[in-house]
């Protein structure tokens, strides 16, 4: 314990403000908004942690990162040990440090939030992770001896990548099958560059490959291989194919030219780099007035993308009010700074087109908040006779995603719930022995950290399960 500060001195330190790109400039580029702490600021922020005996912050974290521990190691000047500690708990801290809803998880529990601002746990996590990515050689890697068991992971989103890394560390021979041409799942096709640089995901993927994980892209499980074939060829399966099926509004005019699902819009821009069109080959309609329907992170990413592509006006239409928006507070705040408009208590009832069937506007109805619904949020109800028209030439529908049935429909033995999500037990095992699942395909659209937590838990459960299985032939290893 080298740190010399007294608790009183710590309490005097103000939360360090994340350096950001200027709003006017960043509203027109795709570079990351948050610039990251310089060392000095990171160390001051780390000193703000009181090293609580009973750290509440840990309880708020879905994967129970030992937060005071890595922060303490930082204050001791041992950043390598801090990184080691963090990476033991969290396989992708460079990702979670950027996209976790910290304000409702670890930071909301932080004792320093009682009086003033909580410790910037996410910012510190990001700082340590970025250091670690650039200093791989200074980190020890432990790897169990080969077990001779082969495990296949379906999908390379955060859940699949985390499971693959953990399984490889436990000595298993791991293959990841990914349907798209680039690994990363939502981290590469959904979450935009300005929030999560693709370079970070690429480096994480390279690290896994260096650790022996084989990643094969362009393999669509359910088509290229059936789940049954995978069960025959591998000793265990982990399914983490996400919740990628876009939900549409089911209103007239939704198939007019200029209406996108958020998945299509973001995929064109992120995965296919349409923002570089015509230097990249995939186009995207830019639009002068882009209306994004929805109030979550996905809607926020889409509307901020529209702004960056050059839309004169980019607006959010949300059927409740700002208080009920599920998007992260930081994202809403950033969006406001970037000149995004918000229409609250607004629900589209029809997409209007011109004579050439291009979108020209959205007919909307005003809503009022009624009694709380099952989720505890006030239920929006339409106000009769309140129709009005929002002019726009591109509409992006960001009202949610569901389980994509491509894989599950080809394997009827796999037990699903009524939403089409795979049902698993406490170990993460599905109704098929040796087949595990986790992430959004089990939970429905959730968060990166929950998907990662599932991946890690399933990897350990797979390890235990495999250890209990007799080996088919002695030469199998």
């Amino acid at each position: 314990m080298s740190s010399a500060l007294t608790p009183r001195e710590r309490m005097k330190l103000d939360r360090q403000k994340m350096p950001e790109q200027d709003p006017a400039a960043r509203a027109r580029n795709f570079a990351e908004v948050n610039l990251g702490f310089p060392e000095q600021m990171a160390l001051i922020e780390a000193e703000r942690c009181l090293q609580c005996k009973d750290p509440r912050c840990i309880k708020g974290c879905p994967v129970k990162v030992n937060i005071p521990r890595f922060i303490e190691l930082m204050t001791e000047g041992n950043i390598a040990a801090a990184a080691q500690s963090l990476l033991d708990d969290n396989a992708l801290p460079g990702v979670t440090g950027r996209v976790c809803p910290q304000e409702t998880q670890c930071e909301i529990e932080c004792i320093r939030g009682n009086k003033g601002m909580p410790v910037g746990i996410g910012y510190l996590e990001r700082y340590v992770a970025d250091w670690a990515r650039n200093h791989r050689d200074q980190l020890a890697t432990s790897k169990a001896p080969p077990t001779g068991r082969r495990v296949v992971v379906v999908g390379s989103g955060p859940s699949g990548l985390t499971a693959a890394g953990e399984l490889a560390r436990l000595g298993h021979d791991v293959t990841v099958y990914e349907a798209l041409h680039k690994p990363g799942g939502v981290l590469v096709y959904g979450i935009p560059e300005f929030r999560l640089p693709k370079k970070i995901v690429e480096q994480e993927v390279e690290r896994l490959q260096a650790a022996g994980v084989k990643i094969e892209c362009n393999v669509v499980v359910g088509r290229t291989y059936t789940l049954q074939e995978l069960r025959e060829q591998f000793d265990a399966v982990f399914i983490a194919n996400g919740a990628g099926l876009p939900v549409f509004m089911n209103v007239p005019g939704e198939n007019l030219k200029g209406v996108y699902s958020a998945n299509e819009y973001l995929t064109r821009v992120n995965l296919m780099a349409a923002y570089e069109f015509p230097r990249a080959d995939t186009p995207v309609l830019v639009g002068r007035r882009v209306a994004v329907v929805g109030g979550g992170n996905v809607a926020m990413d889409a509307v901020r993308t529209a702004r960056r592509l050059g839309a004169e006006q980019a607006l959010i239409l949300y059927r409740r009010t700002k208080t009920e928006m599920p998007a992260r507070v930081e994202e809403i705040h950033h969006a406001e700074e970037e000149g995004i408009h918000f229409e609250f208590l607004t629900a589209p009832v029809e997409v209007l087109g011109n004579e050439k069937r291009w979108v020209r506007g959205l007919k909307c109805v005003r809503m009022k908040l009624g009694e709380p619904d099952a989720s505890g949020r006030a239920r929006p109800e339409p106000i009769p006779g309140s129709e009005f028209i929002v002019d726009c030439d591109v509409v992006v529908v960001a009202i949610g995603t569901r389980a994509n049935p491509l894989l599950t429909s080809t394997c009827p033995e796999l037990k699903l719930n009524r939403h089409g999500n795979i049902v698993v037990d406490e170990q993460g095992m599905t109704s098929l022995p040796g087949v595990f699942a986790g992430g959004d395909i089990v939970r429905g659209a959730a968060t990166v950290i929950l998907a990662m937590g599932d991946g890690k838990r399933a990897a350990r459960a797979i390890d235990t399960w495999l250890a209990a299985q007799p080996r088919p032939t002695p030469s199998a290893g």
């Binding site: 795709f30 699902s261 998945n263 309609l285 291009w358």
Partner: protein, 283 residues
């Protein structure tokens, strides 16, 4: 990487490429397609699997050069490679087990009809193919289809086979011989005309739709088409549908999304944009 092992020019703008894709060659079935991506920042392009050689581990793609991506693909020479090929995607063709099937192919659609005819022929179904092109040099896959049954060739200018559209030949055939099922693949107006012809005759008609696609896995919804009262995703629910239920006008219109975009972009480039869509920002 998927090496091109063979290349053949079939008509002035249609090229056949045989490329390595061992797994797909083994398991593909008629009616399925792949998504290919040349590399770098290239687009994902859906292409039907026209044929497969499981022993050689190759599939055959027949590509009409219409835009940048397809032009780059057809320029590939043997030895060069395609970076990504995903598949086989979509549902295999619904096939009949006996009787008479008519396969109608227009332009590059003839290559798509070929594996369907092949599959039917293997099952012992009696196959008649009606294929067409602008003029003689645009007619493709005639010898391959002749090996599977009768072939009626139509050209717009009469330079080869019958003069006129494939629908004229189909009409004659339906009124004389009749058919248990019709498969039609080609330009949207052709498929619409075929469906309009067979609907009153109540001859089951399967069409293969070609909306703009991105992922091909049901993730983006860009390929949505209206079939009956329902919205379907062509990449996972199709690409083949009951031609009598398809909203061809909507499909045709949606296919124009980026065509108009490019024209508009060109217009917008030399002045203030009056039409509502700004030019893409040159990042």
């Amino acid at each position: 990487m998927h090496r091109v092992v063979h290349r053949r020019q079939l008509s002035p703008n249609v090229t056949l490429l045989e490329v390595e894709a061992a797994r797909i060659a083994q398991i593909r079935r008629p009616g399925q397609f792949v998504i290919v991506r040349l590399g770098g920042n290239a687009e994902r392009i859906p292409l039907t699997i026209a044929d497969a050689h499981p022993a050689a581990g190759t599939i055959t793609l027949v590509i009409q050069a219409v835009g940048k991506s397809t032009r780059e693909l057809v320029a590939l020479q043997p030895g060069q490679a395609i970076q990504d090929i995903a598949g086989p995607l979509g549902h295999p063709t619904e096939q009949i087990d006996a009787g008479h099937a008519v396969c109608v192919g227009g332009g590059v659609g003839t290559a798509v009809v070929h594996p369907i005819a092949q599959g039917l022929h293997r099952k012992g179904v009696n196959v008649t193919s009606i294929i067409g092109g602008r003029s003689r040099e645009w007619v493709i896959f005639e010898p391959e289809l002749r090996a599977l049954g009768d072939v009626i060739v139509c050209t717009d200018d009469g330079s080869y086979g019958r003069k006129g559209f494939v629908t004229d030949a189909l009409k004659d055939l339906l009124t004389t011989v009749g058919a248990d099922i019709v498969y039609a693949v080609g330009p949207v107006p052709m498929m619409r005309a075929v469906a309009n012809l067979t609907r009153p005759l109540q001859v089951r008609t399967i069409v293969s739709l070609n909306p703009v696609m991105v992922d091909g896995t049901g993730m983006c919804g860009g390929c949505r088409v209206s079939v009956g009262a329902e919205t379907r995703f062509a990449c996972v629910d199709g690409p083949e549908f009951d031609g009598h239920l398809v909203d061809f006008d909507e499909l045709m219109d949606r296919l124009g999304t980026y065509r108009e975009f490019e024209q508009r972009a060109a217009q917008c480039a030399d002045g203030p944009c009056r039409i509502g869509l700004a030019a893409p920002t040159a990042a």
